[in-house]
Structure formats: C-alpha cells, structure tokens
Amino acid sequence: MPGRSPIAALEGTRRLEALRFRGHKGGVIAPHRAMVGLRWTTWRFSTTLVLALGGLAGFLALLPRLGQGWQLLFLRARDFLGLGVPIGDQTLSLPGGIRFTLPVVATHTPLPDARVLWIAGIAAAALFLLSFLLPERFTPLRYFLRLLVLLQASAILFFVVSRDPFPYRLEDHVFILLTAGLVVMGLVPLLLGLTLHVFDLPLWRKLLLTVLLLLHLAVFVPLNVLLHVWLVMRGTAIVMPVLFLLFGLLLDVFIFVAFYGWALSWGGAPGQRDAPPPVHVR
C-alpha cells in the first residue's frame, strides 16, 4: 500500500496470514494433515543447537565418571555372578584432553570342545524345527529364529572346519561393545537434535528424554556386556558371533528407536502446533 512503511506492511501481512487460520470464536482452524509442516524459527533453531551441543558436551564431561561407574559395576557384577575373572582397565584419550577408562575382562576365551559343538548343533536344529512349527501369525519370529540359527550354524561350521584360531578374544568383544555403546551414547544428543528437538515438544520434555535415554544406555550397555561375558564363560566362544551380531550394538540402536517413538507420542507444547504449513510461509 502506498505510503506504508515496510514494517507496517509486513505486520499487516502477518495479521492477514493469521486470519487464514482463525476460526469460530477466535479458535484455530487446523490445516489438513497433508499440509502441515514445521516452521524453522530462531527459537527452534537455538534450542535445538543448545540441546544437541550441550548434551554432547555434558556427555563428554561425564565420560570419566561414567568409565569409573562401569568399572565399579563390573567389579560388583563379577562377584555377584561368580565369574571369577580378573577385571582390569584401559585408558582411552579423546581429542580435547578427555581421558577415561573402560573395564577390561582379562581372561582367556573358553573355546568349544566336541561336546559343546554337538549341543550347539542340536539346539540350533531344534530351533530351526521350532520355527516351522510356530503358527502363521508368528511369521516374524519364525524368520528371526531362522536368522539366529543361520548365524549359529556359521559359528559351528567355523569351529568345526577352520584350522585358524578364532580371531576374537572375550576381551576384544567386551571392549568393542562398550566402545560402540559409548559412540551411540555420544550420538544421542546430536541425533535427537536433528530428529526430535525440531518438533514442537516442551523444552523440558526434550531435555528429559535426552537424560533418560543416556541414563538407560549408561546402565544397559555394561549390563548387556556383562551378560555376554557370563554367557561366553558358560557357553564358550561359540555364542560370541550371535551375541556380537544380533545382541550388541543393534540392541543399543533399538533402545534409541523405542525411546524416540515414545517421545514423539507425547503431546506438543502448549500454544504451539506442528503447523502452520510451510506452503503459506512468505
């Protein structure tokens, strides 16, 4: 409009835009779900950045304490489970002068003898048969059992056929899974920043989920590894491939997915919507 300042014109445009969504008695006309999206505001950008980078910084700052906690947990669990293995520690350094220690299970890796191979073979065959007996509605479980059997069969085959020694020690297994768990935990704030904090959830809930997820992994990762140690000590290295490939890092990732799905099922922040639609943003 001639004579109007650009600021006044902009304000007018904004008011007009708001009118498009004003319904009966001042209510909001929600756009159809096909048209909703998110608006990239300064608030959204800054809170996402702070939560993501702040979360990562907090995690890195707490790494030494986390390492100490895991060390303590391993020592207690060894006695509780009657593992009877020496627990050592290994110091790692990250750029920026961050140093932390991880527990090390310093023991030999029990290898399967003929009896164990037979037992493993029979168990695998039984699982394979079971997968055919399950009703049709358990099809995914049938498939999973067959995958499990396939991996276990590959391990049996290796120990029967291979003339080379098994290339992994229990010590390596523990180290890899603990380190991978730490990487996943380090990624949590960043990945949540990209995929969760962009949604209209209250700030405290975003923070709460980050903390809950990190706490859960901080407890789960070492306990899961301890369970692996217990199983390998009881069942020999023949269970290591299955544990490593199916019940290690993959479980950490699915815990992340489960928490993420749970968080997105929460309601939005009061007074905010996941709309307005970007198509109307000028």
Binding site: T139, T179, V183, L249, L264
Partner: protein
C-alpha cells in the same frame, strides 16, 4: 583375496549410505520444505470427461462398496464413466457389476474379459482401448477394495489442468488398521511412504511414483507412450518411468486420500511384497539404461532419484550380501581400519543408517497427528525383517528364472478380508 570381499562390502556400504542420506533429506524436506500441492483447492472448473477403471478378479467381497463410494462422489455425472473390468472372475463379481450397470445405466459400464492375457496390466490395456467410455480425457484407476471419498475424483483430476502432467497419484490410507499388529505396522509404513517420501519427491521436483491405484493418467499421454504394458507385474512403476522418459510430469496429491484394505495376514503380505519386488525389478531392467542416458528434458536430480527408486527392491538382496560379506570378514578376523576407528565408523553407520527409516515413518505419523501409533515404532523391525527376506528371495528366484520366456501371466492379487455384505468401515475409531 581379501580385496574380493572388502571392495564389494565397501560398495554396498556406499549404496546404503546413499539411501540413508536420501531418507534424511526427504524427511527434513517434508518437515521444513516448501510444499507443492498443485490445484488441490479447485472446487469448480470445466471438469473434463473421465473414465474410472476398476480392475476386478473375484472381487465380490469389496467391489460393491467401491462402486457405491464412486457413485456418491461429487464429480459431474455426465462427465464420469465408471468402468469395472471383470477379468474372468469365478465368483459373483460379474453379477454384481451387471446389477450396478442395470441400476445406473450409462454411469456404470462393466467391461467383461473372458480371453486374452490374464492380469491387471493386460485387463487395463484392453479396457483402456476398447471399453465403452474409454475415450475420456483422463483415465483414473482404483483397485476394487478402495473407498474413495466424495471429493476425491475432482482432487485427482485437478492436477491435469497442468498440461505437462501425465499422471497423478493420491495418498493410500489403510482402513483396517486395528486388525492386527501387521496392519498397524503396514499403516506406519504407508505413512512414511506417502506422507513423507512421495510428498518430498513432489516438493523437490523429483519423480513421485504413480502407484497403480488412487491415481490416473492423461489419455493422450497414455497413447503417446503406447498404452499400458501387459507383460509386467508393476504396470504402475512401468508407466511412471515411461511417462517421465517421454517428458511428462507425475504429480502427487498428498491431500487426496483414499482408504484401502491392507493385508491382515503375513502370508498375504509376503505374497504382496514379493509381487511388488518382481514387478519393480522388471521396471528396473527395462528403464535403467534409458534413464541413465538422461533424455534432454529429464534433470540430473530426476535421473538420480529415478535410479534410486528403480533400485529400491534391489537394496534388500544387497543388504543380505553385505551381511554375508561382513560375516565372512568377521570370521577371518579382518579389520577394515585401525581398531577404534572401525568401531566408531560401524557404530555411527549402524545408528544413523538403521534409524533413518524410523525417522521417516515417525515424522509422517507425527504430522498425521496420530501419535499413539508411534509407540509401535521399534516393532517396525519385524516388518522390515519379513520384507527383507521376502524381497531377497523373490529377487533371487526372478534372477534364476529370468531366462524363461513365454506367456505365464496370471492374476496376482492381494487377498481380501472384508466379508461380503459387511457394512463399509468408515475409519472412525481407528488408532
């Protein structure tokens, strides 16, 4: 020797990384990008003549609901011909269709087939050339179990006012969501596929896929590219790429929703996805080279997107091969890089890669406003596992039998679960 294992593994990882990046790009675009919803608001216009084709093979359980829904629509009756194609049905389909034709003369015009190649593609080809009313400007296609809303036909026709649009696709929404865990998971998958994937393609000017139902083609475009192919299991994907290669646009209308019945049992789902995989792979074999040569009117972005879309069912078998290679290298004790670095890389890849598809689905469901469903998100892995095995097996069998030629066409359709005469579900109360 090691290189023979390591190089293919790196290549496969490279492919997976590309698909992962694609997932994130599409999802972020859908969330924050500028939407393209062409002509969705058009309510009154000089509506063109349209023919709605409904391929049927033993569809007595559902086809009546479909015809009722179409007849209740607001598309001008004088401009609309409903053409159910009865392809040698052995149940009561023929009688139902003839009954509707008698009650709605001129509006419902069944096209009965008793000979020729069986199958949806061949039925469509025949009907689009020979059925009474098939000379309409726009040909829409619906499967017999769909339940179009009152205004859907207008919404699907509106994008054709753009003379460059050769095909239009609407959004498919499951109606039997609450039947089982499988139907709930399929609902989540569909949400990701349509609400996010297809809309992002539309926004970015890439290649939204015409999906063979809840959509249609411009008749002149159809004739220009030689009509429906009757020797493919995925005439929809085939048509998408033939149109794109011939210079036509494919439009996606996220607002144009139509209910469908998703498989309620795992065997039915497995049969469905195997059929999709084989059909899609046929299209890959037919069109990848023509697409790669990049006709002048096809942008580089469209070529890249088109190739990724064509290869989507090859990813499953590739992943299986990748796992096989990784397992072999695991037993050989081969380290691909220094210890800590490889742990870091694998953990990053596993986290970001595995999460990408979940992010897409979750974003779609959140935008849909149906948040409760998202608690099932981790369970999607079981659907992925079944799909992975099924698609890989179908692709392997297809590769091994591809040398066989001849007329082995048959109707391959998804089992219907609706009881005949049952009240049409209205979608209310679905989670």
């Amino acid at each position: 020797m090691m290189l023979l294992l390591v190089i293919p593994l790196y290549l496969i990882i490279g492919v997976m990384v590309i698909y992962t990046v694609r997932h994130y790009c599409f999802t972020l675009n859908r969330l924050f990008g500028r939407h393209r919803q062409p002509y969705v608001d058009i309510g009154s216009a000089a509506w063109p003549r349209i023919a709605v084709f409904i391929p049927c093979h033993n569809e007595e359980k559902v086809v009546g609901h479909m015809l009722d829904a179409l007849l209740a629509g607001d598309y001008p009756a004088e401009q609309l011909a409903i053409i159910p194609i009865d392809d040698r049905s052995r149940d009561g389909t023929r009688g139902i269709l003839d009954g509707y034709a008698a009650r709605f003369p001129g509006r419902v015009r069944p096209f009965h087939r008793d000979g020729g190649k069986p199958g949806k593609a061949a039925a469509l080809r025949d009907a689009s050339l020979h059925a009474e009313g098939a000379d309409a400007d726009i040909h829409l296609v619906f499967d017999a179990d769909y339940l179009p809303g009152r205004g859907l036909l207008k919404q699907l026709v509106a994008p054709f006012f753009d003379i460059e649009v050769g095909a239009v696709m609407g959004r498919v929404v499951p109606i039997n969501v609450s039947k089982s865990l499988l139907t709930r998971l399929l609902d989540l998958e569909r949400t990701g596929g349509y609400q996010v994937d297809q809309q992002a393609r539309m926004n970015l000017g890439l290649i939204p896929q015409y999906g063979g139902t809840v959509g249609g083609v411009r008749r002149s475009a159809l004739l220009a590219v030689g009509g429906w192919s009757d020797d493919t299991l995925a005439e929809d994907t085939d048509m998408t790429f033939r149109l794109v290669l011939a210079g036509w646009d494919v439009a996606y209308q996220n607002r144009s929703e139509c209910y469908e019945e998703v498989p309620e049992t795992w065997p039915s789902r497995i049969a469905q996805i195997k059929r999709w995989a084989r059909g899609h792979n046929q299209s890959l074999a037919r069109h990848w080279w023509a697409l790669l040569k990049r006709p002048a009117h096809v942008s580089r972005a469209k070529v890249a997107d088109g190739l990724l879309l064509l290869c989507v069912y090859v990813v499953g078998p590739l992943l299986v091969i990748g796992w096989g290679l990784a397992l072999t290298l695991y037993y050989l004790g081969v380290q691909l890089a220094p210890g800590l670095l490889v742990i870091f890389a694998v953990a990053m890849y596993s986290t970001l890669g595995n999460f990408a598809a979940f992010f897409e689905v979750a974003a779609g469901a959140r935008l849909d406003g149906s948040r409760g469903r998202l608690r099932l998100l981790p369970f999607l892995i079981i659907g992925f596992l079944v799909s992975l095995v099924s698609v890989s097996w179908a692709t392997l069998v297809q590769l091994l039998t591809s040398w066989r030629r001849g007329n082995n066409h048959q109707w391959e359709k998804t089992e219907r679960f609706r009881a005949p005469g049952m009240a049409v579900p209205n979608g209310e109360g679905e989670p």
